[in-house]
Symmetry: C5
Subunit: 99 residues, 5 copies
């Protein structure tokens, strides 16, 4: 998994029928210092994440292991909202005190 | 998933039999600012996308989760046509008013 | 899938038994302008491609969806020979008139 | 697999139910000279690794082949703690004498 | 698949039980000119490869298609030892006359 921030969403009317009702989030990938990178991914949402949330997303076949994504043509899923993140004993992120 | 624009197509007569009747689109990958990158992918089409359409594509085993691609040797599928795309509360793309 | 050119082959006598009789092609990956890149892949052949052929290859579990590769330890397969390739309405490759 | 060092952990309260009780480690990827790179991955823990441990992690569907991760939406798992590592006959890492 | 050279091995005592008895090789990835790159992978061994051998390795779920790796948490397997390698009609590697 990688950590990223929800920065937007995508709306698509014409899509594979298995995507009906699935929210598609734009997630900007963060590096290991919690800084935004130039990478992004569009991921299905399984935890009702919202704009600005720091999240974990999984890719590949693992992205289909939630009840929201099973057997669906999605290769990325937001499956957790990050509460806190520690590195080398230091807290680099705290949901209730974001930097 | 990533977002890209349909910029072309590939025709192949000699191919694995399971590819018969599958349209193969050339999709140029866009970055999170909706700018074209140097990356591309050739993806099977499951939504009748056409040239110039902004689309979402899925890769890997997830690309085989549509009725058009099930059990077939394709590792990328266009599974949605993007209508609109918002980033940080701003609309960066609107199908009926493309930039 | 990506497009590449068959530039060589690999011979291996000591190999997993499931690889017996499978031809292994060296494919140089081309970019979306049909120019060779520094990337390559070794792919099993499912369409009797030969040196100089422009081909499509699929990777990952999708590479095991041909009769030649089913259940075998190969992560890339050449599953089509490109006849023609159009970009933005322009023909960038024609098998019978290669550039 | 790649080798990395456990440099932190991530806590998430709101997450897919299948992630309950799974420890999520932040692993900094090392290169083949055992030097830290800029890459990281968040991986489920199947071997009770701790901060500072040099570990092996597997990605993709292979990350779901441990009893801790089976059928769960995780795409990376720490599945071994490195004791020693030899390159060209030279020992580059020894757990009990780390550099 | 990609081609690489076996440059070392990794020993791990504490590991997922399914890894018992599996030899883990450090493989330095070679480019299409048979030159070493900065990339490496740790791969399970299915062909009793040894230091200095030029090998083929497969990644992802395909790495679990050998009897040595089935259902195990490994995402890379050495599944062939390269005897010879031809590019554009030229021999770039011959096991019995390595460069």
């Amino acid at each position: 998994m990688l950590i990223g921030k929800v920065i937007g969403s995508v709306v698509a009317t014409r899509k594979d029928e298995k995507l009906e009702g699935r929210k598609l989030l734009v997630v900007q990938v963060h590096n290991h210092k919690n800084e935004p990178t130039e990478q992004y991914v569009v991921a299905a949402d399984s935890v009702q994440a919202g704009p600005g949330d720091l999240v974990l997303y999984a890719t590949g076949s693992s992205a289909r292991q939630t009840s929201m994504t099973e057997n669906r043509p999605v290769d990325a899923v937001v499956m957790a909202i990050v509460d806190s993140w520690d590195l080398g004993g230091e807290n680099v992120y705290e949901k209730w005190n974001p930097r």
